[in-house]
């Protein structure tokens, strides 16, 4: 009887194997393979366009940065991936630390991308800049009341501040930058003063948080500017505006969505060419525009709606250092009770 059961089992396995093989069969040739944490709707058109231009297939899978890195690591030198694209500099730093990316020497990329937005050894290059700054209610806050990130801990904002969850990389990298700028102790004091000012439990997304600002649950928040860009595109009268933080000091915190060539890339030359293509002015504009971000290429202007927020001085610390400090930032936030 176990015999018959195991026979049925074998049969099922064979069937599944055959099916799987049949489905896998068409994956052949020498395409460019991208693992991307930048999602389908932001990359598909550009990827296909590049493929048509070059006469090759651009294949990609999407996932979060961390799982993509784990997948790369598990596949090792047999990985089909040529390029890794993330939406957080911390992930790029981590992939580099894990030896999953290789250094690339490209005068074009080095000229196009400012030094603080790329790895000095060329393991990765920032492609779009996201600024994390202050958003305020135009109904209840005057821009003159705002200045620095740290000032949001002032008692005047008691019960008026909204934050996104401390579990999210964008907040972790902001705190990591603060640790680099002012040291761990001072940064922890700032974070604690923010937590004391919270008007509501931290939100699960910037979008929900900005809507809470608009609805009056709180007056100020810390957000990535592009989330507001999307909301303003839907409703031009959305009563929340951007304030560039720390303009007199170290500058507004920026993070990058960027990419690097994998250690075991089978199609290295094509991967580098693709990065250069993405960094070229015309593509840069579109790459950033789909998500209301700032182009990494300094010579390329952002969308008019984004430009309307005014220009800002970014914090010039290399975004790669964020990764190194990020675990310390997470622990600091745990201690301070940033949920």
């Amino acid at each position: 009887m176990t015999l018959s059961m195991s026979r049925a089992f074998l049969l099922a396995v064979t069937l599944v194997l055959t099916l799987a093989a049949a489905f896998a069969a068409h994956a052949a040739g020498q395409p460019l393979v991208v693992y991307t944490a930048r999602k389908y709707q932001l990359v598909d058109q550009l990827f296909q366009e590049y493929g048509r231009e070059r006469g090759i297939e651009v294949k990609f899978v999407t996932d979060d940065g961390a799982p993509l890195i784990a997948r790369l690591a598990a596949e090792g030198r047999n990985s089909p991936a040529d390029l890794l694209i993330t939406v957080d500099a911390g992930d790029l730093w981590r992939a580099t630390e894990a030896g999953l990316l290789q250094p690339v020497k490209s005068p074009m990329l080095e000229a196009a991308i400012p030094a603080h937005l790329r790895d000095p050894q060329g393991h990765w290059f920032g492609l779009a800049v996201r600024a994390r700054t202050i958003a305020y209610s135009t109904a209840r806050v005057k821009p003159a009341e705002l200045s620095t990130y740290a000032a949001l801990g002032d008692p005047r904002w008691k019960g008026r501040l909204c934050l996104r969850s401390g579990k999210h990389a964008y907040n972790q990298s902001l705190v990591a930058m603060m640790i680099g700028d002012i040291g761990e102790e001072a940064a922890e004091r700032v974070v604690r003063s923010w937590i004391a000012n919270l008007a509501a439990e931290p939100f699960s997304s910037d979008t929900l948080m900005l809507k809470a600002v608009a609805a009056g649950q709180c007056d100020v928040a810390i957000t990535n500017s592009y989330y507001l860009g999307r909301l303003q595109a839907e409703d031009p009268a959305f009563p929340v505006q951007i304030f560039w933080a720390d303009q007199g000091g170290r500058g507004t915190h920026v993070n990058v969505s960027g990419g690097g060539v994998t250690k075991h890339a089978k199609n290295r030359a094509e991967a580098i060419r693709f990065l250069e293509w993405l960094a070229s002015p015309e593509i840069q504009q579109r790459f950033a525009a789909v998500n209301y971000e700032f182009p990494a290429n300094a010579g390329v202007p952002p969308l008019p709606t984004v430009a309307a927020w005014g220009s800002f001085e970014p914090n010039l610390v290399n975004v790669g250092t964020i990764g190194r400090t990020q675990p310390a930032a997470v622990k600091l936030m745990d201690r301070a009770g940033w949920r």
Partner: protein
Amino acid sequence: MIAIRHPGPALAALAVALPMIAVLVAVIQGATGADPELWAHLREHVLARVAWNTVVLVVGVVAVALALGTALAWLTAACEFPGRGFFSWALLLPMAMPAYVLAFVAVATLDYAGAVPMTLRAWLGDALWLPPIRSTGGVILVLALAGYPYVYLMARGAFLTHGARALEAAQSLGLGPWRGLFRVAIPLARPWLAAGAALVAMETLADFGAVSVFNYDTFTTAIYKAWFGLFSIETALGLALLLMLLVAAALAVERMARGRARYAAADSGARAGARLALPGARGWIACAVASAVFAVGFLVPLVVIARWAWHVAPLDFDARYASYVLRTLTLAGMAAAACLALALVLGYATRVSQGRVTRAAARIATLGYAVPGAVLAVGVVGALGAIDALWRTVAGGEGLWLQGTVLALLLGYVARFLAVAHGPVQGGFERIRPSLEEAARGLGLTAREVVARLHLPLLGAGMGTALLLVFVDVMKEMPITLMTRPFGWDTLAVRVFEMTAEGEWERAALPALVIVLAGLLPVALLTWRMERAARAA
């Protein structure tokens, strides 16, 4: 029970457990690299809080889901009230609604800036106080609404099949139908209620999507944070291992508590008793309760996401969706069939062999459901890497053999969802009285014929349930699909992920809506079969 002394069953059970064993090895191996300094930090600042939160959440969700599922199953199985026929299948529909969708709809409509409080404040003034949805109560309610159909399905089966005679016995001893429910029907349904509750508990433990929307910290969010934020996948795997140990311990306690009792149906062909008519107001109260659960758990969220989907459909809906649907259904169907086949092997092996190896294999094989999907995915990827490396050593050659194939994806699904198929199949086996097997053997049937002519027909309902549960779960599954899918194998859940990862929840409504609609298919099939079987009886 037909005792078997040769090692066949144990080997078969081990074979079934193999995917999960491989995953477990990969997880343990990864966890050994955990950073002691990080552990110290977690012990001091994180573990106690997330452990407490997790216990509160699981206990709360299981309690609410048990109450809802059992009460509704009792109403539709044993009582007569207006709309009973409709509710008996409609109350299963929330199963097709992913918990993360329900969570987001709840937060988007009921939080301070949501449509409902905004409207209420516009009418009644800004000072109006409403209970915050982003609270422990809110997350418990949402997960219980998403989870109660598991309990409902199991409890309804138990009430329908062996409630009648036991209730008559209780009535002859002076217990009314309601006290009979609590003193006989529910105690007798206990293994099935426990199986349903275990599924709900494990789903709650593993949930990441819904608790994230509520920003409620659990063991699972701590695991993600260790991995994504602290960059320590090893620590994350260590935490996952701890979670699995706790789950295994909890399951063992339940088994011990059940003790010597057996639950094989005592009635020999007793006609299902007449349904208890709920006259007048009581009938309408029952109808109102069922309507409320159906509305909150299914109808309202469906309308909300349908409205969102309507707005984004012109931007996003195109021919790709045909491929998403096809791939989703193909994967779900293959995974459901594979899990059912393995659950049958496992159920049969544990029935004929009470050996230690068999039982241990069964427990390991079904552990995957309690593990957060992403952690399991890491284990799966690790295990696949090891298998590929082994393959290259044995067969030579280069490249990936298993990784990046549909088979790899299926292995992941089996590791994760075997428990879901195992529950109903095991429940079905337990309900087959050993004397039936003996009778069949006595009539000269070989063991193999016993399986074909006795077990499989009698397991019919359990097998249908198992298929449905796995099918619907795979359709909603994200992390394993994301991490192990071959190129081009994007499913509806992948599409939902891509939209939500950028916070565009409303835009994710379109694929979410398609998931719900596609999920209705198997639910409808199952309920149709259940009704037909009930009519035939």
